[in-house]
């Protein structure tokens, strides 16, 4: 049974690639909505197959060697896929997110000869391959395929903002690819193999080795660029804000968190045997993650362009996921994996609401949209619910992930990272709730600092019925809220231990129950301040706006949209990682 399940492993990558190639060859012949149907079915097939694979991988990881090139006497010549339960479920989630997004984008791109679907299917295949592979170079190839598809999708509209956002995205992520390749070259030179297990064994033997640390530094920097961790986060706000809304759903829901998924896998499985890295990583990752959570949350609160605000919110949540990885424990990693799925569901739904506003109200600017959402109440309810979930409403998958991450951090006494994560979540929740109140209830006539934030008007086609756009959004939120908690509670300890290649643990620690409520209260207070600023006594408003304005302007200046600044920050970030690893 397991042998036949292992034979399934290439299919979730092969199916989208084959459908994509067939569509490319016959695009000019395909009638009307056939590309939509084919793409949705392909994504659904990927989701189902990955779920089947994940169920079979629950006992022990499934391994597939392409062309039957199995390792002999510890020499790995072939390229393999190796899927543990967690990787399988993450891939299944990604397939599902794509299927829902294809429904959301039904007919969105009009007569484009299915180019959108072709790029998206390529993107999907790359993501699944990235989850499944057990070969460093193969990982790099999927990383690059993912990047190239993403670059093209960002610039899809060929408008000026979209083009310059896409150029920034392309340059920074290409640099990430080069760093990663350099790191892979170094680790291959030291260990003589590209297979995860082979490298792990060699790293565990090598002891303190600057080449291993250097290789990890380069690969980790590349994955953190993908994962939008401070100071590599600049590209994300540009790219997610200008990409078409269905593409942003995928970017925020899965691409960014997949970078962190790769980092979790590599730091635990491949480089886990190095004592030097084990000492340096908790501090490095929790500090960067905490900083990212705070910066992303603060910036989100200051935006008026909805998609840009959601992009900063994604940065903040990526930071929280990184603190989970930084715990280097089954609790933290398990929490991060659950968080990845929960965040993808909620953030996907939020970008769909932004897409609905773009299509039906022809604007994406929070202040311009004030009160215009009154006719589409269900979208407002979805947005408010998603905002509450983001900042810690204690139901659903995202909340479960949050509590696991917080539990892991609390156990290791990392109070700073814990607080930063809670504050970051509260800030992004406040931003989303403020926007929901302003757009759908017409509150907040008097904008604060967000009035000066960057914005650009754009439009998306209003050729779809509201229910067709709203249904996928509600499906995502319903999945987040309604997935049975005990099922996850039961599966996560086992899956997280298998993911980390460690003996299974019985149960995972959870964070204090009051913490999500605190975040939620803080978020409501923040949103209330933004909306009712005019009615509050000057005694409250003045000190807040004074302390808010100066750091705000400084941060806006940093996020300049200039590619040169981003490259300089990239060099700083790589240097910081190198110094921390070198001092350990």
């Amino acid at each position: 049974m397991t042998a036949s399940a292992a034979a399934l492993l290439p299919l979730p990558v092969a199916i989208p690639l084959v459908v994509c190639a067939a569509m490319l060859a016959t695009a000019h012949l395909l009638p009307g909505r056939l590309p939509d149907i084919l793409a949705t079915l392909a994504a659904l097939a990927v989701a189902v197959l990955c779920a089947v694979i994940a169920r079979h991988a629950a006992e022990h990881p499934l391994v597939y060697w392409f062309g039957g090139w199995e390792p002999h006497d510890g020499v790995h010549l072939g390229i393999g896929f190796s899927v543990d339960e967690a990787s399988g479920w993450v891939a299944a989630f990604i397939g599902l997110l794509y299927a829902v997004t294809f429904v959301f984008a039904w007919g969105f791109f009009g007569r484009t000869h299915g180019h959108f679907h072709i790029l998206m299917l390529l993107f999907l295949a790359a993501m699944v391959g990235f989850c499944f592979t057990r070969d460093m170079f193969n990982l790099f190839v999927w990383f690059e395929v993912m990047s190239v598809a993403a670059f093209a999708l960002t610039a899809y509209h060929l408008e000026e903002s979209a083009l310059s956002g896409a150029i920034n995205f392309t340059v920074i992520n290409s640099l990430a690819g080069f760093l990663m390749l350099g790191g892979i070259g170094l680790i291959y030179a030291r260990t003589g193999t590209l297979d995860f297990e082979g490298i792990a064994a060699a790293v565990a033997r090598s002891g303190r080795d600057p080449v291993v640390a250097g290789a990890f530094c380069l690969v980790a920097a590349a994955l953190m660029i993908k994962g939008a961790i401070v100071p590599f986060q600049f590209w994300l706000a540009d790219a997610h804000a200008v990409a078409p809304s269905p593409v942003s759903v995928i970017f925020s829901g899965s691409m960014v968190s997949l970078g962190l998924f790769g980092l979790a896998k590599l730091s635990a499985v491949v480089f886990g045997g190095s004592d030097q890295l084990r000492h340096a990583l908790p501090l490095l990752l929790t500090a960067l993650g905490g900083g990212t959570a705070l910066l992303g949350g603060w910036m989100a609160l200051l935006q008026r362009h909805l998609k840009r605000m959601l992009a900063f919110s994604t940065i903040s949540h990526a930071g929280i996921m990184l603190t989970g990885i930084g715990a280097l424990s089954a609790d933290g990693t398990g929490g991060m994996l659950v968080y990845l799925v929960g965040h993808g569901l909620v953030k996907g739904a939020l970008f769909m609401v932004a897409g609905i506003l773009l299509a039906t109200r022809a604007s994406i600017d929070e202040i311009a949209l004030r009160g215009l959402g009154r006719g589409i109440g269900p979208a407002g309810i979805a947005m408010a619910l998603a905002g509450l979930l983001l900042c810690g409403l204690p139901i659903g998958v995202l909340d479960q992930g949050t509590r696991l991450v917080q539990g892991a951090l609390a156990q290791q006494g990392r109070g700073m990272a814990l607080a930063a994560g809670a504050i970051g979540a509260a800030l992004t929740g406040a931003a989303v709730l403020r926007a929901a109140g302003r757009i759908f209830l017409g509150l907040g006539p008097d904008p604060g600092d967000e009035a000066g934030a960057p914005s650009a008007d754009e439009r998306e086609k209003a050729n779809r019925p509201l229910w067709l756009m709203l249904a996928p959004c509600c499906v995502l939120l319903a999945l987040d809220v309604a997935l049975p908690a005990d099922l996850i509670e039961h599966a996560v300890p086992r899956a997280a231990s298998a993911f980390l290649h460690r003996p299974a643990v019985a149960a995972l620690a959870e964070g204090p129950a009051w913490l999500p409520w605190t975040s939620l209260t803080a978020a409501l207070a923040g949103a209330g301040y933004g909306l009712f600023r005019r009615r509050l006594p000057a005694l409250v408003v003045r000190p807040v706006s004074v302390t808010q304005s100066a750091p705000t302007r400084a941060l806006e200046v940093l996020h300049s949209g200039l590619i040169g600044d981003y490259a300089a920050w990239l060099a700083v970030g790589v240097a910081v990682i190198a110094v921390v690893l070198g001092l350990a």
Binding site: E160, G185, A241, P454, D457, I563, A571
Partner: protein, 133 residues
Amino acid sequence: MSMLPYAVAAWLFGIGLYGIATSRNFIHLVGCLGICQSATYVLLLGLGYRWGSIAPIFYDHPPGTPAVDPVMQALVLTDIVVGATLTALLLVLTIQAYKRGGSLDPEILRPMRPGGQPDRGASRADDGERTAP
């Protein structure tokens, strides 16, 4: 083992990054990105090279003759393909951005402007950008 290839690779990456950081022209910037990528070629070839060995083609050599590492050469080949894709894509984006923004300067072609205001410098009357109220 000579340190020279590694020093050259680091230097190439450094000057490429410096070029990107200071560039005022997107085509120049794409060239700088290419220089950063050459750093990876040099690094990988340097890692795979063995003194006094043949190319890993055994057609006219007996098997077992010392050869340079073919895996590294495969990596470099893939890297070159990736590089060609990226350069082509970036140049296409640059051309399209020039058509719409009338400039190749990153300072002028920023993704968004404060308060949604149209930029002053470029001729962008026809792109549908609207001043926010």
